[in-house]
């Protein structure tokens, strides 16, 4: 998840619009085709071969394994359905439990655990989000590093001792984190948005906890959360790297056997439709952060491919999307604007985020609302559809280029119970979609009237927006080949 977000962020940072200005048009001829494009093979590119092996352990953990012997290393990634949506009345409980795993086991304190991993060159990492809690290990695959690293990893995940002093320290660090959030208008806007969007649903729970809840969390509650959330039946194990199948089976079996016994946690409830409206968080910043959202989809929604493609065109693809073109490229109103579906276990949000100089907030917001309304009413153009279908095919090889990429992909496939052929199926579905299908899918799930809008920034007198630059010609002179 982290690497995906990073990828999106880096993509988003650099991408730039088409908007050819009038003056340039006047002096430019149709550009000559690039030689390299003319010579480009029209076939879809291949990607690194993946043979996803899948099985279940005796205790019910689901395992996905991809052998990769090129580098003498492996990645082990555990995904438990034990995110903050399971916090109940104690926001922060999932995060605190996850953060305490490597703070102590029977015969080792936090320092001894870290010294052992680091002395082996092994990397331990953990994190908690809304749907899931992650625990990961990256290690060299040679026996003398692999076996002691795995032995300690097993112990840390299955028999953490939750020392009292560590609990206090982590609690204090989380409280310090909440203090830091007060200086972050983007975070303040996001907290307000999830609260308004999800009401009583567990997705409204702030993963980092609250000033009220963190002091109430005690060792018994953490133990109980671990007992249920970190049960073998609630786990997906992803393994990628320099391991034989028999070794992978052994790693999964041993790990699963020492975890608490228990089933997968019950499905999350369905969220209620939120009330559309506008909310303001007062903050003395130069920019206003604007978030607008409505309920989107589950990860398993049959419209997933159509909505992915529809959103890529609207504001998901960075450069060249309708939102980036109009708001950044033609008017210079922002460093970046982005829209996204966040498909989750229960319906996650569809959201649009942008930051702009406070004096331009109202104009920018009105512009975005108009762009979304038009897009939902008319759907994409055929040219937009073609371009984005080509992009998704072309980027396919990048999705599984590294062991880290593969570990992320198979973790998601396992966690959301998707078929092993998911990546191929998705790419094929994308290619088969029509303008009409994309438009209808977007209309089925989104409505321009349903947005919950949160702005975080100062109250200042508003200015009108600058005039946009002229439209670019719609011709496609360079002829990127079909595939």
């Amino acid at each position: 998840m982290t690497s995906k977000n990073f990828l999106l962020t880096s993509l988003f940072c650099a991408l730039w619009g088409i908007g050819i200005s009038g003056s340039v048009l006047a002096e430019s001829q149709t550009p000559p085709a690039l030689e390299s494009l003319r010579n480009l093979n029209a076939e879809a590119p291949t990607r690194r071969a993946l043979n996803i092996q899948r099985w279940q352990t005796a205790e019910g953990a689901r395992v996905l394994f991809v052998e990769a012997h090129e580098l003498p290393m492996f990645d082990l990634r555990l995904t438990f359905a034990a995110g903050s949506s399971r916090d109940g009345t104690l926001p922060g409980l999932a995060l605190m439990t996850n953060a305490l795993l490597n703070e102590g086991v029977a015969d080792k304190d936090a320092t001894a655990i870290a010294q052992t991993f680091e002395g082996l060159g092994a990397q331990f990492s953990n994190g908690a989000y809304r749907d899931m809690a992650l625990v990961s290990l990256r290690s060299l695959s040679a026996t003398e590093q692999r076996e002691p690293a795995l032995a300690l990893f097993q112990q840390v995940v299955s028999q953490p001792s939750f020392p009292a002093d560590a609990l206090e320290r982590i609690r204090n660090q989380l409280l310090a984190g909440l203090e830091q959030q007060k200086q972050n208008p983007a975070k303040l806007a996001s907290l307000e948005l999830f609260s308004r969007l999800y009401g009583q649903h567990p997705y409204s729970i702030p993963t980092e906890g609250t000033f009220e809840s963190l002091p109430r969390i005690d060792e018994a509650q953490v133990r109980q959360f671990h007992q249920q959330g970190y049960a073998a039946g609630n786990l997906v194990i992803a393994l990628v790297g320099d391991l034989q199948r028999s070794e992978a089976e052994q790693i999964a079996a041993q790990l699963s056997a020492v975890l608490p016994k228990g089933p997968a946690l019950p499905a999350l409830p369905e969220p209620q439709a939120p009330v559309a409206g506008r909310y303001q968080v007062e903050y003395p910043s130069q920019q206003t952060h604007v978030l607008m959202a409505q309920l989107g989809i589950r990860r398993t929604d049959p419209d997933y491919a159509a909505l992915y493609l529809g959103n890529q065109i609207l504001g998901g693809g960075g450069f060249g999307t309708r939102l980036m073109e109009e708001v950044r490229e033609k008017r210079g109103l922002t460093y970046g604007i982005y829209s996204r579906f966040s498909p989750m276990d229960a319906p996650g949000p569809f959201s649009i985020s942008v930051q702009t100089r406070a004096e331009q907030t109202e104009g920018t917001l009105a512009l975005i609302q108009k762009l979304v309304q038009d897009y939902l009413a008319e759907g994409p153009t055929q040219e937009e559809l073609d371009r984005n279908q080509r992009e998704i095919t072309g980027s396919f090889p990048l999705s599984t280029a590294s062991n880290a990429d593969i570990a992320g992909q198979i973790s998601n496939i396992g966690f959301y119970n998707l078929p092993s052929s998911f990546l191929e199926d998705f790419t094929r579905q994308i290619q088969q979609l029509t303008v009409q299908q994309v438009k209808e899918a977007m209309q089925r799930h989104l409505s321009p009237e349903q947005f919950v809008i949160v702005t975080a920034g100062p109250k200042v007198a508003q200015q009108p927006l600058p005039e946009p630059s002229a439209d670019a010609p719609k011709a496609e002179p360079l002829g990127v080949p079909e595939h």
């Binding site: 993509l11 690039l34 060159g121 910043s285 670019a472």
Partner: protein
């Protein structure tokens, strides 16, 4: 668009040679050649997946900029997406996107780099586009005017509305009294306000020549393919004289400096920096490697000294970090940052004293063999992990080359680093952790009253 901030462990990546890792992890084939126009090309083969990364590194960044024109390198980076002789504004990005490429660019104080990651059969397009904008950037005024507004929004987003980033920007002006490293890469707002398109044009003319760049390609390619492609697209670009780039040198011991900053933060924090040399600015590379090890001993993981002693042991800090970048074009800094544990009523003064205790301990007692063995184990493993990412491999090569060193240094450094003794580390601590090299800043929350102005 991105000011490169490297993780603190980064400096260690180059410390040990891949050849030290044995048969299972021998280094990928790496080739180097230079075109007649001076463009240096480095190709590293990695055939695990049919993808390739192409990075073009120009040897210019914000430390080259003069007073009144800060932010120029970064602004030029933005304008490089605004069209060339053959392509309109944004068109190259549109083509790359349609090919499924991931592209980006970043500016730092020493260099500006542009990259594309894409399916192997599309590499030619990335190179043709990159060559085109090296040869014929267009810089339309109307695009410049709008893009300048985008950059100002970027500054508001990433600096002005982020109190700790803003504080660090101020801090650097004091820590670097003599060199261009004091310039913020994004530029001062008052310099952005008076920037002209002619400034950007001039900067481009001055520095964006093939003989001032390095092309790094890592992935599923052969050197022959790359030779053919670079010959076709880059070789026609003529060599141009570029100004002599002087290394950003500092005063060795500028004297102790202290700064108090009140910003819109919730928690106080401490910034400390010692003026130090880098790999390029001193003959005494043994001391530089010792500084790298000092950084790892203090903050090379959760078992390192700052986390073990100050965060968990004394519970003096909520967090504390140390970092030293040896791979710069000029002199460098050894930086320490910390936030006090306010829940335990710890103050900035106590944190400052606690950090000094750790620095003094390094001067008086050499590190144990076990501690050094842990650092070494992490470095050796990192060198394997790094090879899982073609982008990371290319970045290490590109950065070394851009600061005037050879990528081959990776291989040669093993001996140097192995030669560092516990006594060398102790000596480096004594030499560099002194008041005369130190800048300290206390970053404090604004008073509540001022908050609601």
């Amino acid at each position: 668009m991105i000011s490169v901030i490297r993780p603190i462990t980064y400096a260690l990546l180059m410390v040990f040679s891949l050849s030290a890792l044995g048969d299972g992890a021998s280094s990928q084939a790496t080739h180097e050649f230079t075109l007649d126009n001076g463009l240096k090309v480095i190709v590293r083969e990695d055939h695990r997946a049919p993808v390739v990364v192409s990075q073009l590194w120009y040897r210019v960044g914000s430390s080259f900029e003069t007073s009144g024109r800060t932010g120029l390198s970064h602004l030029l980076e933005h304008m490089m997406f605004k069209g060339s002789a053959r392509l309109g504004p944004g068109e190259a990005s549109r083509i790359l996107r349609e090919l499924g490429a991931e592209e980006n660019a970043f500016t730092s104080d020493d260099y500006t780099a542009y990259y594309q990651v894409l399916a192997r059969d599309r590499l030619a397009v990335a190179l043709e586009l990159e060559a085109d904008r090296m040869a014929s950037l267009r810089l339309p005024t109307e695009e410049f005017v709008r893009e300048l507004e985008v950059v100002k929004e970027e500054r508001r987003l990433r600096t002005d509305d982020r109190p700790n980033v803003l504080a660090f920007e101020r801090f650097k002006t004091l820590a670097y009294p003599a060199s261009g490293y004091r310039n913020p890469t994004i530029g001062w707002m008052h310099d952005l306000d008076r920037m002209q398109v002619e400034d950007v044009q001039d900067w481009y003319q001055r520095w964006y020549a093939p003989n001032n760049a390095t092309l790094v390609i890592v992935g599923d390619v052969t050197v022959d393919e790359v030779r053919t492609l670079t010959q076709r697209y880059f070789a026609p670009i003529p060599r141009r004289a570029t100004p002599e780039a002087r290394r950003p040198l500092e005063l060795a011991e500028p004297g102790e400096r202290r700064l108090t900053l009140e910003v819109r933060t919730q928690l106080p924090s401490l910034l400390m920096a010692f003026n130090t040399p880098s790999l390029t600015s001193t003959e005494n590379t043994r001391a530089v490697h010792a500084l790298r090890l000092l950084s790892a001993l203090l903050d090379g993981g959760y078992s390192a000294r700052l986390a073990t002693r100050l965060e968990r042991g004394e519970e003096l800090v909520a967090s504390a970090n140390a970092g030293y970048d040896a791979d710069t074009r000029g002199d460098s800094l050894f930086i320490l940052t910390a936030t006090p544990n306010v829940q335990k009523q710890r103050t900035l003064e106590e944190v400052e004293a606690g950090i000094w205790r750790e620095l003094e301990a390094l001067k008086t007692t050499p590190p144990s063999p076990e501690e050094l063995a842990r650092v070494r184990a992490q470095v050796i493993a990192e060198l394997v992990y790094e090879r899982d990412s073609i982008t990371q491999q290319a970045s290490v090569i590109g950065q070394l080359e851009s600061i005037g060193l050879s990528w081959r240094l990776m291989d040669e450094e093993l001996a140097a680093i192995s030669a560092v003794t516990p006594e060398d580390i102790q000596q480096a601590a004594r030499t560099y952790f002194t008041r005369s090299r130190l800048t300290t800043a206390h970053v404090l929350p604004l008073e509540k009253a001022a908050h609601d102005q």
